[in-house]
Point group: C2
Chain length 135, copies 2
Amino acid sequence: MACELCETDGGELLWRGVQCRVVHVDEAGYPGFCRAIWNAHVAEMTDLAAAKRAHFMRVVFAVEAGLRALLHPEKVNLASLGNLTPHLHWHVIPRFRSDPHFPNPIWGAQLREAGALPAEIATLRQALAKRLSRL
Amino acid sequence: MACELCETDGGELLWRGVQCRVVHVDEAGYPGFCRAIWNAHVAEMTDLAAAKRAHFMRVVFAVEAGLRALLHPEKVNLASLGNLTPHLHWHVIPRFRSDPHFPNPIWGAQLREAGALPAEIATLRQALAKRLSRL
């Protein structure tokens, strides 16, 4: 079966390394939502050798640090699920008290209307990409 | 406000280290559900120094490896959310096609009845604890 994360970037590309990449996701109500995606089609973190696993997590934490510095979220949510797309990817989601699901997980019950992505989204993407370029 | 993860183990204790611990969670339909919990009250992974962060992830991945070896799940789900309990904890959830929410996240729509925890749960806990004792 075709894998979306093998065939496409999986979002707006912010940074690409040899082993993984970071994309920004278009998700109403979640202007800072990013994903770190392993480039090869691998299902589980423990399928990676320890050094690659550690490298991937350093990238995930660099995204978290960038989002915190730029957006000052109430909380950051990190998740590697992949039940439908078993190709390693980490959701990095800055959460705010006013977001559509807070304090529920974004996969839980929606509590508020989702606003459109703000016009400043291009600026946010540039700022994140700049921070990730130091990786 | 009182923090449940400061005041209690947060589940059936399988392993405790100086900086973090691993507990088994009583959750109907999810016999292998574990949590890795940082002992100190810290909200975000990027609040930890890089070496502590790496140590915590090694523990998370040891839980994943143990669960995979013992249960052979379809997929492992990893998540650090903490919107309600901002004390670092990782959900490590072995997922099966027959579980209550698969392929949805466990926070999404339930699709099937949840069975009670099997009688072999004590054996599973012992086997996991034994693997973690090598940490």
